[in-house]
Amino acid sequence: MKPVFMTYTKKDLINLAVCMFLSVLIIPTFITTEYWYTSILIPWLCLALATIGQQIVMGYTGQLALGAAGFMAAGAFAMFNLILRVPDLGFVGSLIVSGLIAAAFGILFGLPSLKVRGIYLMVATLASQFFIIWMIDKFGWFKNYDSSGIITAQDIVIMGKPFTTPLAMYFVCLAVTTVLTLLAMNMARGSTGRNWMAVRDMDIAAESMGVSLLRTKVQAFAISAFYCGVAGALFAFCYLKSLEPVAFDIKLSFKILFMCILGGLGTINGAFIGAAFILLFPVLLNAIGNNVFHGAIDATIISSIEQVIFGGLMIIFMIYEPLGMAKLWENLKVSLKSKLSSSGTKSLKSSAQKSE
């Protein structure tokens, strides 16, 4: 299909319009319970954004990285300090600058990717995870010398208006996520994304065709870390409403990795599907535990079962559909379409026979 605007096709614009209609009009009118905003929708948007970051470096550029939570922490604490120390910057300005700070970390810890790949790179990125969390934990300046370890996040104020209700925070997250998602789609389809994918598919071949590995990889890491940083800031300010380094530990990195892989490597909508699945599945499991078994199963057992299922799904997807849920969705659409069209041709044929 021909792009209508930048790299977006007519189909994309229709999709965008539908999504915007659903998220701006339908959801706020029909969902009124705060629980849905504070525990599902806001973390979903934040984590989906972080997963897009992971997608860029892992799904598109093919670099096995495992430090998303570290960059999220960098973004979150940068945001806290920027609002505290440079109040003139405003919320949006601080969000961008904290993303850039996270991107700087991304460049630094992405440099090993020039030399190594696969599991080796994974270890190198683990360094970023542990180092960033340690640094924030040990240097009091980052936490404004707060001794309690948990800092309350400042209220979100944009253009002098406070955004403190769950609905308002949802709109903040939605706006940021929409803009960044569109940007990511644009990058992924443009020359930037083509370079990423060339490097993913065969880096040596890409290099011999004139794609600069240094530029492409460092760019991917920087942009990925930017996304994670912004996501981390939103995660801390809209969802957790507090800042503590422990919230961004290695477990969160693994969670984002799972969202990325189960959702579908190398797809943007996969990030949203994966994040929704990983967030909603435990809710569903708990509901089953409470309503079907009436709490007869211990909560720790339920969380263990959840872990087994996530791990099992990971194995199953790797074996049968390495491209994840996004691909399943795609297959479903294709098969539905072919069914519709084949039944369409059948009816045409039968009517043609009748007319004979």
Binding site: Y120, M314, P322
Partner: protein
Amino acid sequence: MVDELLFFMEVLVGGLLAGTMYSLVALGFVLIFKASATFNFSQGAMVFFSVLAFCGFMQDFNIPFVLAFILAALLMVVVGLCTERLVLRPLMNASEDTVLMATIGLGYVLEGLAQAAWGVEVRRLDLGIGDFPVPWIADNLKLFISALDITAGLVAAIMIIGLFLLFKYTKIGLGLRAVADDAGAASSIGIPLKHIMLLVWSAAGVVALVAGCMWGARAGVQFALVDLALKALPVLIIGGFSSIPGAIIGGLIIGAVEKVLEVYIGPFFGGAIEGWAPYVLAIFFLLYRPEGLFGEKIIRRV
């Protein structure tokens, strides 16, 4: 001056011996990597799974120590069998990264199963070896070295020698090396690939059990073991993924460096640099010697 030197020696020896604990975990990784060029990310989970089962057998069913150990080892063989059947065989022709991600999933499954079966509370594991300085060494050499550390060192040494002999001199070892070199060629000359895989995964499971016993005796049998096992990754990078001696040397280097840095440089930064120092060290190694000290040079074709 003498006191300072003694203190340094103590830190160094303590670090080296603690490093052998990392080596034990790393050994399991190397075994599987050597035979199948698969990086088994679930090795840490296997450590946790096996030792928790061992503790469970002993504490919940009152099975005697030796029998419980044998049962746990058999359980690991079953885990190896299931892994080979359900995970590795379907992924025979998949790319390295795909298999790696599948083993991350496997790790999750094992962690979840272990916790569902045996609960989440921290268990104490008493091997009958105290984690306190050996009096004889403390008196004669004025070094305070834990008995558990020495045992771990000895166990590691025995396992390395055993595995080395196995790889070098037995027919099975020859088969293992052939499979590692080229699985397709090996199976075409009649080496039973399935058996070799089963054997390697079982051996890695037993190694995990031994490593888990050592770690469990020190830190308690708990979920944190999985994170500790992550530290085996920098060990592997330094030593090389396919070298058994490399796992040992790497472990020693990591153990010594992290202890020395923690004691001498740590206080300037508020401590706990142990958490990331091994990884940063690994990055420096990666930049200068990506294949590790003993690893084979990685050659990639377009």
